[in-house]
Subunit: 149 residues, 2 copies
Amino acid sequence: MSTEKERQEIESYFHEKIPLTRAMGVRVEAWDEERLVLTAPLEPNHNHLGTAFGGSLSAVATLAGYGMIWLTLGDKNGHVVIRDSAMRYRRPVRGEIRAVCRAPVADVMDPFKAEFANKGKAHLKLAVTIENGEAIDAATFEGTFVAMR
Amino acid sequence: MSTEKERQEIESYFHEKIPLTRAMGVRVEAWDEERLVLTAPLEPNHNHLGTAFGGSLSAVATLAGYGMIWLTLGDKNGHVVIRDSAMRYRRPVRGEIRAVCRAPVADVMDPFKAEFANKGKAHLKLAVTIENGEAIDAATFEGTFVAMR
């Protein structure tokens, strides 16, 4: 399956299965097996200060993690949950929210895939960077996701 | 000002200033100066598994922290931001989301208020518990908020 088709499928999956992603205007900007990039416009996600709401940043980062697991395993029907997460908010986001999740290196990803294939359950720690409009890191997320068959 | 009036005001403030709270259906259930309780229905906040989306839980918990700071300082015009947060997801939430933020003890709260009054800037760490429908802890949140005048 082409990555472009996967990109569209994961966006449709988000919108269909997680209705808040529609309200947030989440789009899948890019997926090339090394990174997944999600975006969301500021307007439905702003806070009392006119910058991006921390809860929106956390939600988009969480979605990027889910998407990375689904796309990596090629299995959206796998039962994926989040176990824990940590956010560090560094700078306000004054425009479009952009969440970049880079695939872990093979030394991390390969054992995750093997364990999922063999045991039907595996966990993976993923980092997501939230960029503001100027491609500067505005927030960082780290979360542990558990995939079960 | 009565706490009931404050309860209504903070709910209106959320809906007016942070539009995602309307999409999420966030309500202020209770505020009695010792705790702030927010709720959100499952329907607009469900995920691909039919349980509450982790991003919604994180967002409601973040809001509870903001609300606690605003209500404690009696000053919604203060510039409040979140610096960091950590979530631990323990059990799925299969019904209404309920976020309970208890006010820190006076030994913590009084210095925060004094520092904000004297220096115009202070930070406070707040814990929020997400309960599922059976009032059992489903997730815990800890976040550091910074208030500036």
